[in-house]
Subunit: 111 residues, 2 copies
DNA sequence: ATTTTTTTTACTACAATGTAGTTTTTTATG
DNA sequence: CATAAAAAACTACATTGTAGTAAAAAAAAT
């Protein structure tokens, strides 16, 4: 598959990394997804996707310093790269192109 | 995985079925994706996804009548269901929620 | 009327992504 | 030092992405 396109969950995680703006690591990403989308995801799922996004050059990571809170390995902080931004933008524009081409818009036909 | 969320390619195909508004079948979907997104996909890929979307209740299908053009099995026409519309809408809204939460919007930082 | 060509669906197989359980590492605190 | 907490790393398997190949069906050619 092309490296330009991301899977559905990869896209959610990458957008969340961007939203967290330098404060993205495993647990904070889970919490953000939970609070913004109401979606429960596991730590293992998030970490696997972060590793794959890094392999694709969509994010980069650095270890943070030890903090004042109790315990734990050093956090691995993730930030979105220029490539990641580009990929998200392309995917968004392509979907918008299709939404705008709908002959019968159907948002809010339900509830 | 939840049946509410679709994969990246499933979403593209489902949106295209909706855009084609009653005229969606294997080849017409390929052509539409090619012309709107510039993306080349195989017939097998599209048909596999259509079958999965139907199993999930996102589309329904019917065979068309024979047309005036030469040869071929009867076309299997696909239409989006109410469930499909609902799924697309939810996914769109969730992504928009994340895009709107970006502290530093990055559309068009490149080119 | 049989063969060929065109159009299309159906089938099969494998690669990439989605998901979560388990283990290990690290550090603060009693 | 033992223990609890926080976090990353590892492992395994299910779902989705992708395309090649085969089969079916009907018009056209011979």
């Amino acid at each position: 598959m092309s490296q330009l396109y991301l899977g559905e969950f990869e896209e959610i995680v990458l957008l969340t990394v961007a939203v967290l703006d330098g404060k993205a690591y495993g647990m904070s990403i889970i919490d953000e997804i939970k609070s913004r989308l109401g979606r429960n995801v596991s730590l293992g799922a998030v970490q696997t996707v972060l590793k794959r996004l890094e392999e694709k050059g969509m994010v980069s990571s650095d270890f943070g310093e030890a903090t004042a809170v109790r315990g734990g390995k050093r956090k691995r902080y993730y930030t979105i790269t220029s490539t990641g931004q580009q990929s998200l933008t392309v995917m968004k524009e392509q979907r918008m192109a299709l939404w705008n081409a709908l002959p019968h818009p159907f948002a809010l036909n339900f509830i």
